[in-house]
């Protein structure tokens, strides 16, 4: 057996009208952690779908060798890949929330007696052994729904490892994790590596490759740009290879003066819902100025999104407090009231909250804005399409036409559709909830530039983000939240990652 566990040889994959992969060749050494990076739509997902058997042998050109034997999956069953020892942990978790950790790990392979009855003791003892072997501390008799995102990720990995995988593929594993959770994930990956498991690591967070990966393959527009050891490169070089152009700075910064106060939130208080999926807010107050970008920092579940949705009018239990928009008290709890006052909300989860994926790009863009184009009787479709086309061009959305269903777009382009939808309503106050999550460097840069332009036009922009460098790089002021409370607002010029983390952890700053 050669030193390479996985080899791509001239793989080309076409979709109607698009070449997703063109003549891709690269090799993954056995026992290494191999990073793959590229912008959204570069072809990473297509690559993974070929390895996992979603696109069976014969639907692409070229060869894929796994342990020196060509992969020839038939049909689109990922079961075959699992049996060969290839396991994939997807970005969107594939767990059944109502089942326990043990049940999820054994889903489809429950230990049963001859009569087909599940042996629960064996199921849980095997689960415990598995978790112990990889030093994962997860309450294995709990339902998955009651775990945090980080622990759910661990369950996914444990599930993948339960079948003795020799190749583990992680797709954007840290996009929902806190820094502490990322650290423990990396610790696990190092242990796995020591145990001889090869790992392919896909991410948008470049610094992670330099922390964990041994080598790196950069792809752009469906082609491999370079495959090289991590030690021989730098973040700047990787970015250059990914975007194919020199990027002088990751965060375009413009000087701005704060305008007058356009929104005053006072004492926003809510209680948790029955399912306890949302953090309760405890008397949050802040001011928002026109022409500024206000960042909201805090750990996952600190109430950042809840603060924005509460002001935007998403129904929530026991909402109290007051919101004054340009000097006028706004009735709380009704989205139309917020929209009528020029507030737009770009939600955190674009697929679940932002888009009707089966519908066309134009239908998605105009959904909240149909009043602009409608008489009592009908929608003026030509007017509608003209406005959609304007934003389509303005945001440089990559698609053959406005009539394409949104599900056919890449993540970054989908995010642009959600942003277009809310720009069309000409907001004076724009809430962006994790607007750059899971999208590539180029698209991120475009979104930062857009935020600057909007702020320069006097729009008040609020951005929730889990990435501190991003908040420090783009915002004028940063509000830090911890367990539903506002810990303070720092001017970006005085803020550091350490200060933000201190506040986010619930501690106060020492002068």
């Amino acid at each position: 057996m050669s030193e390479y566990i996985l080899q791509f040889e001239g793989v080309t994959k076409d979709f109607p009208g698009v070449r997703a992969l063109s003549n891709v060749s690269f090799r993954v050494k056995a026992g290494e952690i191999h990073g793959i990076c590229g912008e959204n739509g570069a072809g990473k997902s297509t690559l993974m779908k070929i390895i996992s058997g979603v696109y069976p042998h014969g639907t692409y050109e070229g060869r894929v060798l796994f342990k020196d034997a060509e992969l020839k999956f038939s049909g689109s069953s990922i079961r075959q890949a699992i049996e060969r020892g290839i396991a994939i942990v997807y970005q969107e978790f594939a767990l059944v929330p109502q089942l326990t950790v043990g049940e999820n790990i054994h889903l489809g392979r429950e230990p049963v007696s001859a009569a087909g009855i599940v042996n629960w003791h064996r199921l849980y003892s095997e689960t415990r052994e598995l978790l112990d072997r990889f030093h994962l501390r997860i309450p294995f008799e709990e339902k998955v729904i009651s775990l945090g995102v980080g622990q759910q990720q661990m369950v996914e990995i444990a599930k993948a490892l339960a079948e003795n995988a020799s190749l583990l593929i992680l797709d954007e594993p840290t996009s929902a994790l806190t820094e502490a959770e990322v650290e423990s994930l990396f610790a696990i990956l190092r242990k796995l590596k020591a145990g001889g498991v090869t790992c392919i690591y896909i991410s948008h967070k470049l610094e992670e490759f330099f922390r964990i990966a041994d080598s790196l393959t950069v792809i752009r527009d469906g082609a491999v740009i370079k495959s090289l050891p991590v030690k021989e490169t730098s973040t700047e070089e990787v970015i250059r290879m990914m975007v194919g152009r020199e990027m002088k700075e990751r965060f375009p910064r413009t000087r701005r003066e704060l305008g007058e106060v356009v929104l005053q939130a006072r004492d926003i208080t809510t209680s948790t819902d029955a399912a306890k999926t949302k953090r309760a807010l405890k008397g949050v107050s802040f001011d928002l100025h026109s022409g500024e970008i206000l960042g909201i920092a805090g750990l996952m579940g600190s109430g950042r999104s809840e603060l924005l949705t509460a002001i935007f009018g998403v129904p929530v239990a026991h909402l109290r407090g007051s919101v004054v928009v340009t000097g006028e008290e706004m009735p709380l709890g009704r989205i139309r009231e917020a929209m009528g006052r020029g507030i737009s909300y770009v939600p955190e989860d674009r697929k679940r909250q932002g888009l009707v994926v089966k519908e066309s790009i134009s239908n998605n863009m105009s959904l909240p804005n149909l009043n602009q184009f409608s008489s009592i009787l009908a929608i003026n479709k030509l007017k509608e399409i003209r406005e959609c086309q304007r934003l389509f061009d303005f945001l440089r959305i990559k698609s053959s036409s406005l009539a394409s269903p949104v599900e056919s777009l890449s993540g970054g382009n989908q995010q642009k559709v959600v942003i277009a939808k809310w720009l069309m309503s000409k907001p004076r106050i724009l809430f962006l909830d994790e607007p750059t999550r899971g999208i590539d460097v180029g698209a991120k840069y475009e979104i930062y530039k857009l935020m600057n332009e909007l702020a320069a036009d006097g729009v008040a922009v609020v951005m929730v983000s889990s990435e501190l460098p991003e908040l420090l790089g783009i915002c004028d002021r940063i509000l830090v939240m911890h367990e539903g409370k506002a810990m303070g607002v720092l001017p970006a010029a005085q803020a550091t990652q350490e200060k933000l983390m201190t506040l986010a952890a619930g501690m106060t700053l020492r002068e």
Binding site: I335, P347, V356, K358, E359, S374, L382, R386, L402, A403
Partner: protein, 397 residues
């Protein structure tokens, strides 16, 4: 730019498949029945038969598109059918002559018919308000609310009729389902519709030009408009060869055009598809989901009333078995016509074609003198097969 030709074709592919399937079924019945199936008499009957289910299927498309279902439409149609008969045979027939003693018999019949129609539409609307409120505002699943409604209104029907068929109904009322347009009026109507089609296409081109959008070649638009016109002319000529255009078919075409317009060109229509496609994203777009679902059920109720009126007009009586299993035929018609039970997908035009396919099967097998047991089984299998084709076509994409 704007609407790309490939995307457009993909969107319409489903429709073409359905029309193709319909033509195959027709051809098959033509061969099996020695072309009796294609006789003007039979075709006239076929289109008349399809109307009652069509009204329900049109409403059902909207209900299913929003991610709901309505199992009560059969019972509600039957109930309103006997109400229509009861109003004419007992209530209004007893009341009106006392109120207007001098009225000539013919005017009296017209007055009774008009009032019956209005009252039935209101009853349908009220039933829609009741079920819509339970689904939209109280949050009870539509499946349960309408399953309850199916039982409740079947019971109401039995209670109202006391198990007896209600007769008679007025002559003008019967004409709703049994009447024909005189041949010359039919031709004039066809001419008017054809002019309207051409005006529509040309004014649409004009508008696109003023907005600066690229235009398709004039020949293609003219060919399309010409194609529709030819279909209308052929239909009218065949129907005129029998007794003329059928009143209920005209009513169906009218209702279908209105609902087709509502689904494609109004905010309410757009919202319905968005709600079925992604409820949360729609809510976060500031759209009042409850109100729109409520409206959908009211429209469904009114369409049940239309269906019930045509049903009673056709059988010229209020029958205790009226509307039985119609909910299943309506749902089947929608699904055959490309409506997704998951919500967010489906067209009124598809539902009409679906109704026509279901009616063609029923009619063709009757012409062949096939036993009713076979008819049920074959219709059931065709439904499953149609959905299988849909599943396969989706998988291949």
């Amino acid at each position: 730019m704007t609407l790309h030709i490939v995307d457009r074709m993909r969107m319409q592919l489903k429709t073409y498949t359905m029309i193709f399937a319909l033509l195959v079924i027709w051809l098959l019945f033509g061969l099996l029945t020695n072309w009796v199936f294609f006789s003007p008499t039979n075709l006239s009957n076929l289109f008349r038969q399809m109307t009652i289910i069509s009204f329900l299927a049109i409403g059902m498309v909207l209900v299913i598109v929003t991610g709901n279902i309505d199992l009560s439409v059969g019972s509600v149609t039957g109930f309103i059918g006997v109400v229509a008969a009861g109003l004419q045979a007992h209530v209004l027939a007893g009341l009106l002559p006392r109120l207007f003693p001098g009225l000539p018999a013919q005017s009296m019949a017209m007055l009774i018919t008009a009032l019956t129609i209005m009252i039935c539409l209101v009853v349908g609307g009220v039933i829609g308000v009741y079920q819509g409120a339970l689904v939209a505002y109280l949050g009870i699943p539509a499946f349960i609310v309408t399953l309850g409604g199916m039982l409740f209104f079947r019971g109401a029907l039995l209670g109202y009729t006391q198990g007896k068929t209600i007769v008679p109904v007025e002559e003008p009322f019967k004409a709703i389902a049994q009447g024909y347009l005189s041949r010359s009026v039919g031709l004039v109507l066809a001419a008017a519709v054809i002019v309207a089609i051409f005006v529509f296409y040309l004014s649409n081109r004009n508008q696109r030009r003023t907005y600066g959008f690229p235009l398709k070649p004039l020949a293609i638009d003219l060919l399309k408009a010409g194609g529709f016109s030819a279909a209308i002319v052929i239909y009218v000529l065949i129907m005129n060869d029998y007794q003329g255009l059928q009143n209920p078919v005209l009513l169906m075409a009218f209702v279908a055009i209105i609902f087709g317009y509502i689904t494609k060109n109004t905010r309410f229509g757009r919202y319905a598809y968005a709600i079925g496609g992604n409820r949360e994203a729609t809510m976060l777009s500031g759209i009042n989901i409850e109100r729109n679902v409520f409206k959908v059920f009211i429209l469904m109720g009114v369409l049940c009333a239309v269906s019930g009126i045509v049903l009673t007009a056709r059988v010229a009586a209020g029958s205790i078995s009226g509307g039985q299993n119609y909910e299943l035929s309506a749902i089947a018609a929608c699904v055959i016509g490309g409506t997704s039970l998951m919500g967010g997908e489906g067209t009124v035009f598809g539902a009409i074609i679906g109704s026509l396919i279901m009616a063609s099967l029923e009619n063709g097998m009757s012409v062949m003198n096939m036993g009713v047991e076979w008819q049920y089984m074959i219709r059931g299998l065709v439904l499953i097969f149609a959905v299988y084709i849909d599943v396969v076509s989706k998988r291949s994409r």
